[in-house]
Structures are given as C-alpha cells and as structure tokens.
C-alpha cells in the first residue's frame, strides 16, 4: 500500500467508529442495538485487532486476533461474545462472518479468496448492545509452496531413507553386513539339544496372527532354524497353528529344513496342524496338546495377545524349557517371567534377518541401526547443549 493509501486507511480507521455510532443511532446497523434498552452503556471495545494470512497452509484462511475488551474477564464483566465482520473496503459494508464466546481473542476466517485484501472488524457484545468497533489493517490470504515449520521432518526423513536404501543396495550387492550374534539364538539351539536328551518332542507355537503380520513372517524364518536342528537331532517337532495359511507356510518351511538336513524321510506333515481361528479355542487346543505330548522344549515366536499367559502357564507346568520371542509389548512381561529366555521386540526381527540373510531385511535393519546411532548422537549433544543453556536445538526439533 502506498503512502497516500496508508494515510487514507488511517483516516478511515479513526473516522469509522463515529460513522458506525451514527448508523446505530439512526437504526441502520444490526438489530442488536436499540437505543432505549435498559443497559445504557455498551461494553468497551476490543483493541489491537490484527489480521494476517495463516502461514503454511493451502490458502483461503485469515487469522484475526485482538486484545480482549476491558469488560471481558474484568471491568463490568459484561461481554458475552465478539462479532467478527468483514469487508473488502473500509468504506464498504461490513458483513458478519462469525462470532466467538467471551474469553476468546482469535477467529479464523476460513472463506477468504486468496489475494483479495479484507478488512476485519471486531465488536464486543453484551447480548444487548455492541461496543464501538475496531478494524484491522487490510490482510489477504495466500497459499504456500513449502511448509517452513516442517524442515526438520524433511531432513530426518531424507536421511533415514538414504540410509535404508544405501544398506539395502549394499546387501544386494553381496557386501558383508555385520550383525552381532543374538543371544536368544544360542538358547534356541540349546533347548533343542536338551529336549533330545530327555527324549521328548519339541513344540513350536507361531502366534495367532496370519501371514500378513511381520512377526509371523519372522517366526517362520526362526522355525526354519529350529526344524533344521530338530532334523539333525532326530527329534519330533509339533507346530499347532491358528491360521490355515500359517499351517501351509510352516509345512513348507519345515519340509525344506528337513531336506537341507538330509532327512526328508523324517518329515511328518501331520505334526503341523491347524487347530482353530478362535483365540481362546486355540489356547485350549494347544494346552491340551502340551499336556498329552509333554514336550521337552516349547517355543513361542510371533504375535501373541491375551492367550500368551494361558499358554506359558501350562507350558511351565509341564516342566518344559520355554523360549519366547514377540514384539507385543503387553505380552512380553509375561513371557519374561514364565519362560527361560525371551527375544524382546526388535531382537525377534534382528534374529530373523540374521538367519535369513535376506538383503531387504538386513539392509533395513542396518539402516535403522544407523538411525538409532544418529538419534543417540543428537540426544547426547542436545542434552549437553541444553544443560549449558543453549536451547537452539530444542527449537530446531519443534515441528509446527
């Protein structure tokens, strides 16, 4: 706005209240004001009415804010609501676009046309009469091409994507990616050995979810390892499943493992059984099987829900060695206290990546590991900086 325009606006802004008062007296303004009502004194007006484009949005919105009337939360305590009016010119007619309750000092105009300048008028009302109006300077809405409050997410996302993709590529090229030995896997081997010594079968429970759950997929990979050991030791392996698809997947996996171990003849598909889809029905079925077969080692690997403790309790009462692995946070505590060894959350996925050597799994695991390392570095740096009063980093981590 040029200099002349600005002074014109200033002129109108100072003259406008007078114009409105004249209107009200002559009865031209809204019906809310009638000169001879019982409340002779209208509430004092709000001040500092400001309007500006809502930043970082798709356009079409202007935020209007003001300082509350002296009679709102103080003074005469008479304000009931604020009326918000809008016009494209100061001299033009202001039309009400909304109202807010007393105590609120902000309103969002959601119907502005981008690029059109609007003037906003705010008046306090006590339900009978209206205060003098206050008018904002002109404001227009616009849309933005980049959300400036979200740069941190963009950087973090780009970095993590880069790392994951980089390591997947490396793994596909056949580069050796180091993964530390997972203690739980040694426990798995040992349990199979102990069951063999006792001359008892092994039971493997793959959870109650279907093959579309990543925990079930990880479970199948670990089943491959267990089956191989079982084949080598010539120990019977029972796999009760709660989904028919999991049953076929388990049969495939076990058959392959027996083939690898050079004992295809020892494979018995009937030991890998589908029981039922029902959660508690399955738990009761597995319980019965445990009591009949008395396995020497029981594995619980996959997604478990409330049935976990029913299974683990019965397994414990049969005296079997129990090894569990799941990423269900609410079931892990029960497994930790009722089993001899438990793979916790990500350890389950790490174990399956370690065993399968699948580039996708290995590369992602590695990429996430780097993500963790960077998080640790930022945390350490941030905590030190902040405790020395340098809180810039907190600001940078704030997303809007």
């Amino acid at each position: 706005m040029d200099g002349v325009g600005r002074s014109l606006v200033r002129y109108w802004r100072s003259a406008l209240p007078l114009v409105i008062v004249l209107w009200s007296v002559s009865g031209a303004a809204s019906g809310a004001t009638t000169p001879d009502t019982v409340t002779p004194e209208p509430p004092s007006p709000p001040s500092n009415v400001a309007a500006e484009d809502r930043s970082n949005d798709a356009g079409g919105s202007v935020v209007i804010s003001w300082t509350k009337s002296a009679d709102d939360g103080g003074g005469k305590e008479s304000v009931v609501e604020y009326l918000v009016l809008r016009s494209t010119s100061l001299a033009g007619e202001f039309q009400q676009i909304g109202s807010v309750r007393s105590g609120v000092a902000q309103f969002v105009d959601q119907n502005s046309i981008d690029g059109t300048p609007y003037f906003y008028m705010v008046r306090a009302s006590d339900g009978v009469s209206l205060s003098l109006p206050e008018v904002s300077e002109a404001a227009s809405s616009s849309a933005q091409w980049f959300h400036t409050g979200r740069t941190n997410i963009l950087v973090a996302g780009a970095l993590l994507s880069f790392l994951v993709l980089l390591f997947i590529r490396k793994a596909k090229r056949g580069e050796e990616l180091y993964i530390r030995p997972i203690a739980g896997l040694e426990a798995v081997d040992e349990a199979v050995g102990r069951a063999t010594e006792m001359g008892k079968p092994i039971m493997y429970v793959p959870g109650i979810m279907d093959m579309d759950d990543i925990q079930t997929i990880a479970s199948m990979i670990i089943l491959g390892r267990v089956a191989r050991k079982a084949a080598e030791y010539e120990t019977a392996l029972l796999v009760p499943t709660s989904r028919s698809l999991v049953m076929s997947a388990a049969q495939e996996t076990v058959k392959e493992a027996y083939l690898d171990a050079g004992r295809p003849d020892a494979f018995d598909a009937d030991r890998i059984r589908y029981l039922t889809d029902d959660q508690f029905g399955y738990a009761a079925g597995v319980d019965g099987l445990m009591l009949r077969e008395v396995p020497g080692a029981i594995f619980y690997m996959g997604a478990f829900y409330a049935e976990s403790l029913i299974l683990a309790e019965t397994g414990h009462s049969t005296g079997a060695i129990q090894i569990a692995g799941t990423a269900m946070p609410s079931q892990l505590p029960f497994f930790v206290t009722a089993c001899d060894y438990t793979l916790i959350g990500e350890e389950l996925f790490a174990a399956s990546a370690y065993l399968s050597k699948e580039p996708l799994l290995l590369g992602s695991l590695k990429g996430q590991d780097w993500g963790k390392a960077i998080s640790i570095a930022i945390l350490v740096g941030g905590v030190i900086l902040v405790s020395f009063g340098m809180s810039k980093i907190v600001e940078w981590l704030t997303t809007r």
Partner: protein
C-alpha cells in the same frame, strides 16, 4: 433378583463364558460362536449404516458426485479374489490403501514418535529424575543396537538398558494385571447389582 428378561439373557451369556474356567465345554463353545456371529452381524449393520450409505449411496445417488465412482470401483475390485481369473485385480485397492496409509504415516511417525520424543528428552531443569530419564533413553536405545558386538562400553550401556526395559515391563505387567482384574470387577458388579440386586 432382576425380573428384566434382558438381564437374564445377559446372565446366561456371562455364566456360559465363565464355564470355560471349569473346562472347555459345549455351552462355552455355543456362547463363543454366538459371540462371533453377533459381532459379525453387528459389523454388517454398522458398515451398512455408517459406511455404505453415507460414503457411497448418498454421494452417488443424492449428491450426484460421480467422483466417488472411482473409489467405489476400486473397492469392488476387492471381491475379484473370488474369481480366480481376475484375482490379481484385488491387489489394486490393497495397493491404494497401503500406499496412502504409508504416505500419511511416514511424516506423522517421524514427528510424533521420533523428533518430538527427542525434544522431550532435552530439558534445562537438572534434577536426579531427569538424569535417570536421559540415561534410560540412551541406554535402552543402545540395547537395540545390532551393528556392534556388546563389548566394552556398549556392554555397560546395554546392561543398563536392560534394567530400564525390565522396570518398564514390570510397569506393564502391573498395569495388565490391574486391567484384567478390572474386567472381572465389571462382570461381578453386573451379576451382583443388575441381576441379584445385592449391591448398588
């Protein structure tokens, strides 16, 4: 004792399920299948009234917004899996749902579950509890670090990490026990209040 037939039905259902505690039996199985059937019937009615009608019928036939034909068609493709020849088409809606869901989730998870958590860990109020918290976050993160063998400093860090994990699991254990007991209290309140009328 209640004279409301609805309450009596509910009591029979309750006792039928509780009979599982004695052992798995036909009454329990009956109730269990009744439960699955009723919940499926519930879904049918709810998806119809809150899904098909407002999300498809009204936009298409009342508002004549034919843009909705696209997702409608995509949705119908789900059923192509019942026809072997066209079964591959059922991947299209799945692809859309997975893609859109993943795209929406990525920034949301980065923000709420990573960046905001790191920000929350940094504070300038220096108390014992704060130090306990910071050490805990760092140590637990290092426990789930798989690229180095847990030796030397990493061994100490992950050892501290497992302590925090176990304390956290203990809290979950305690809260889960609390939740299960609450559910039993709820049923006991129903039997004692609504049926027998001996408490209020």
């Amino acid at each position: 004792m209640s004279t409301n037939p609805g309450v009596w039905v509910a009591v029979i259902m309750t006792i039928g399920i509780f009979s599982f505690l004695y052992k798995d039996n036909p009454l329990y199985k009956f109730c269990e299948h009744l439960f699955v059937g009723i919940s499926l019937g519930y879904y049918v009615a709810l998806y119809w009234n809150n899904g098909v009608i407002p999300k498809l019928y009204i936009p298409l036939f009342r508002q004549h917004n034919y843009f909705y034909l696209i997702p409608g068609f995509l949705g119908i493709l789900y059923f192509s899996r019942f026809v072997r020849k066209y079964a591959y088409l059922s991947r299209w809606p799945m692809a859309f749902v997975l893609g859109a869901g993943s795209g929406l989730s990525i920034p949301a998870i980065l923000q709420a579950r990573i960046i905001a958590q790191m920000r929350g860990t940094m504070s300038d109020t220096f108390t014992v509890s704060y130090v306990v918290m910071v050490i805990g976050v760092l140590a637990t993160l290092s426990y789930f670090f798989f690229s180095r063998e847990h030796k030397g400093f990493l061994k100490i860090a992950s050892g501290i990490g497992i302590v925090y994990i176990m304390v956290g699991f203990g809290a979950t254990f305690g809260y889960t026990v609390m939740a299960r007991v609450s559910l039993l209290i709820g049923r006991a309140q129903f039997l004692l209040r609504d049926w027998l009328g001996i408490i209020d």
